[in-house]
């Protein structure tokens, strides 16, 4: 199972949604995911992938695609300085 499928599975499970509700293009707003739901999903992702997601990165996760992209980079150990900078407002925000 790739990262995207696993993320979709976890969001579906944690939000108690019907299978098929969540897609790679879903936004948290569309799925009714509030800030507390968000930290719950992050917790589940960290548990699943055995990783730590930095707060700065976590703050930018507002859609399934953002989660998958950020998570992939954290898992692959890639440099995430630009994500951190973006969260701090040091770099121009990308369109979400």
């Amino acid at each position: 199972m790739n990262v995207a499928d696993k993320v979709i599975e976890i969001i579906t499970r944690e939000q108690h949604l019907e299978p098929g509700t969540v897609s790679i293009d879903s936004t948290f707003a569309e799925l009714g995911i509030d800030s507390l739901d968000g930290v719950n999903i992050l917790f589940a992702l960290e548990e699943e992938f055995k990783i730590d997601i930095p707060d700065a990165v976590a703050q930018n996760m507002k859609s399934v695609r953002q989660v998958v992209d950020s998570l992939t980079r954290v898992i692959e150990g890639k440099d995430i300085a630009d994500l951190v900078a973006m969260a701090k407002g040091d770099a121009p925000a990308q369109a979400s």
Binding site: H16, L36, N40, F43
Partner: protein, 409 residues
Amino acid sequence: MRRVAVTGLGVFASTGRDAESFFSNLVNARSAIRRITLFDPSALSVQIAAEVADYCPTDHFPLKRLDLLDRFAQFGLLAAEQAMKSSGIEVRDEERPRFGVVMGSGMGGVNTFDSGYFNLYAKQATRLHPFTIPKIMHNAPTSQICMEYGAQGPSLTTATACSSAGHAMGEAFHMIKYGMADVMLAGGTDAPITYGMMRGWESVRVLATGNGDPSRACRPFSADREGFVLGEGAGVLFLEEMEHARKRGAKIIAELAGFGMTSDASHITQPSIIGPARAMRLAMDEAGVTPQDVDYINAHGTGTQLNDLTETQVIKEVFKEDARRVAISSTKSMHGHAMGATGAIEMVATLMALDRGVIPPTANYTRPDPQCDLDYVPNQAREKKVRAALSNSFAFGGLNAVLLVRRME
């Protein structure tokens, strides 16, 4: 002066999950105390409690909601739902700023605490679930009930151990009486039956052991009493300013007419005579009644040697010659000691006694204690018109809450 009516009640307890079955079990002296099923109690010296047995959360709440509800918040919401329904009220939008919630809890979300800390300490987890804090906080039930019913008025949580619910109902009563609110939900909830809590109470040496015959383990005021039995559940009242209730034609179950609140300021566990006695007098004084007017006392009656002896002395001190006339019972003999919920669960019993003219007994009473020589309504319910009744809550820490309710004629 504004007066306060009780127009709704709800109870979710070991002895019944609605007011009718709850009261019927009490009147029939049916104890809900059993061997613990919530976890394996084999290692404990005390293996019994009054659980809300076979409770299935998903029968009552959607999964998404349950994620944020510790067991104690679930019980609180379920009792509040009954109180709202039985009041028959539809709170209008413009009334919401004068609709509040006061709930008591002695222990908070200990189930969440227990399992989270087990993971943290025993299983070396490095983090706690993000819902831990919103589930364990003592005010979770109050806030959840406010959210459920859109109560936007004065709301808070009391945490005064065994008196938590007594203080909650008393504070809500005064909020209406003194004009801060028109309608209130008030009561208490606790779900303290965990391994950790049982170990805590076990070492205080105040629990009845009675593992061989659990239903008879709690024997308040009886010479052979051995201590109290931990219980769980919730009780909630719907309180309403009297004219507000009359205008909408609500059934008025009783008037909540007096609240006495005192502090012993003496010992962290041992009760005094003077503190509880003053609380009883204050409740009667506020209601403008004397001991002659009071027909029933729902006692704190934990079943410990010390509480029951002290409470007897308190009642003699306050009631003088009426001490031998007034009917006294401890329903903890059946529903156990539900900590921060117990005062509200007992208030539901008291209100139903008043409403039905039947006093629930002190169950499991075997033989008189020469020092506890009042009328404890042993083992058999009694038909009796109750004009006014007191409900006593005397907490560890010496914080006392006594409420007076009376019939509307």
